[in-house]
């Protein structure tokens, strides 16, 4: 159980003065991860993305911890190398401090471009925690669709109009794919549920071996909603069961939060301009199709977690 007052007395590894957009939820995820890490010394790797470019505009850096950026596709490979070097130095008696390794990547740098390096790092069993802040598109370059983009979302490369109703495909279920790597810890989180997020990150850090955490991080520019509603966005995604909170610990699937009442999907999507076209008469069917798929995915998860 996270005690916020207690946590507020720690120094965070991410400072204000970063240049992420007003209302961006990615820095909220980073801050909560920092709260979870507490005094544990960490080395951070960053995949190319909004977070990387906006937190390290020369001559400034928003990171208080050692931080490395290499390229878009290889945050996991880079951090694997850093972690291996650390183990080598430890073996030689040149370092005795216990250090943990955290990688941050957006959905572009995780689901798509960095997928092979992430998969490799997980398979090799490096002691790293990979955190994906999933805003569901390439927001940094101007809202291009990624494999994390929800079906029917309007993006600049899946424009909703007379030809297509937004993105055609369903999103890739990366959290389940990472669980299939049989790593010790995999979880899905949302910053609205900070207690759940902090507890899971603490578990992921404590684990000896690779851990993967998928965090929903809404983007007011790409999702087209009022900046003040960023946290409400993830809360509704959880309450509508579009973004369920669960963990897979040593192969055991566990639902960590079950909404008291499953809200209709429209409560989440009606607040977002990227789904505006779904609320027209001709797209009514798509809306039903969207809800049906969410219901199916939710039931699949309930079965995996032994809840039904």
């Amino acid at each position: 159980m996270a005690n916020l007052k207690q946590l507020s007395q720690q120094e965070e590894f991410f400072t204000p003065g970063h240049r992420m957009c007003a209302g961006c939820v990615a820095p909220v995820v980073v801050r909560q991860v920092s709260m979870a890490a507490g005094d544990t010394p960490v080395v951070i790797a960053n995949a190319t993305g909004c977070l990387e470019v906006a937190s390290t505009i020369f001559p400034y850096t928003a990171w208080r911890a050692p931080w490395i950026h290499n390229a878009f596709e290889n945050a996991s490979a880079t951090l694997s190398g850093v972690e291996t070097a650390y183990r080598a130095l430890k073996k030689q008696g040149k370092i005795d401090k216990k250090v943990k390794f955290i990688a941050f990547g957006g959905d572009g740098g995780t689901y798509d471009i960095g997928f092979q390096s992430l998969s490799g790092a997980m398979e090799r069993g490096h002691d790293i925690v990979y955190i994906c802040y999933d805003n569901g598109a390439y927001m940094n370059t101007g809202i291009q669709r990624s494999s994390a983009t929800p079906q029917f979302a309007d993006t600049t490369t899946s424009p909703a109009g007379s030809v297509i109703p937004g993105k055609i495909q369903w999103r890739k279920d990366l959290t389940a794919i990472m669980a299939a790597h049989n790593v010790p810890y995999v979880a899905q989180v949302a910053p609205s549920h900070f207690n759940d997020l902090i507890t899971k990150v603490q578990k992921a850090i404590a684990v000896d071996g690779p851990a993967f955490i998928n965090a929903m991080a809404p983007c007011p520019r790409g999702w087209r909603y009022d900046t003040r509603e960023g946290i409400e966005m993830t809360r509704l995604a959880v309450e509508t069961c579009y973004w369920p909170l669960y963990e897979v610990e040593d192969g055991q699937w566990k639902l960590t939060y079950k909404p008291r009442e499953k809200k209709p999907l429209t409560e989440w999507i009606k607040k977002q301009g990227r789904f505006r076209h779904l609320f027209t008469d001709e797209n009514k069917e798509l809306l039903e199709q969207f809800q049906q798929r969410v219901d199916e995915e939710w039931e699949k998860l309930l079965r995996r977690c032994g809840e039904m």
């Binding site: 916020l4 007052k5 946590l7 507020s8 204000p16 240049r19 509603e229 946290i231």
Partner: protein, 100 residues
């Protein structure tokens, strides 16, 4: 306004000498609406603190003590999430704040 370094002050060789020096960079002038803290309504729940993307909620000795206007970008998440009734955080237009 943030003080930009001159070409003579920018560190040579792209070195960064101070970790976390972004805290010296002020993003408060991005704001068009601003949160105002109403201390007597505050229930010290720290929701604003845990949800602020810019770590702009100032705390001291486990107490919320105000807003760091040098960094607050005015997104409004804090006021939206404030559970106190009546709310302890309210958004007002910068033009009405009398600070200009």
């Amino acid at each position: 306004m943030s003080n930009l370094l001159t070409w003579k002050e920018v560190p040579k060789g792209a070195f960064l000498e101070k970790p976390g020096n972004a805290a010296d960079y002020e993003t408060g002038d991005w704001r068009s609406i601003k949160p105002v803290w109403i201390a007597e309504n505050c229930i010290q729940c720290f929701r604003c603190w845990v949800y602020c993307p810019d770590a702009a909620i100032m705390t001291k000795d486990k107490k919320m003590i105000g807003i760091d206007y040098k960094h607050c970008k005015g997104c409004g998440i804090c006021a939206n999430e404030c559970p106190a009734k009546p709310k302890a955080l309210e958004m007002i237009n910068e033009s009405d704040s009398g600070d200009n």
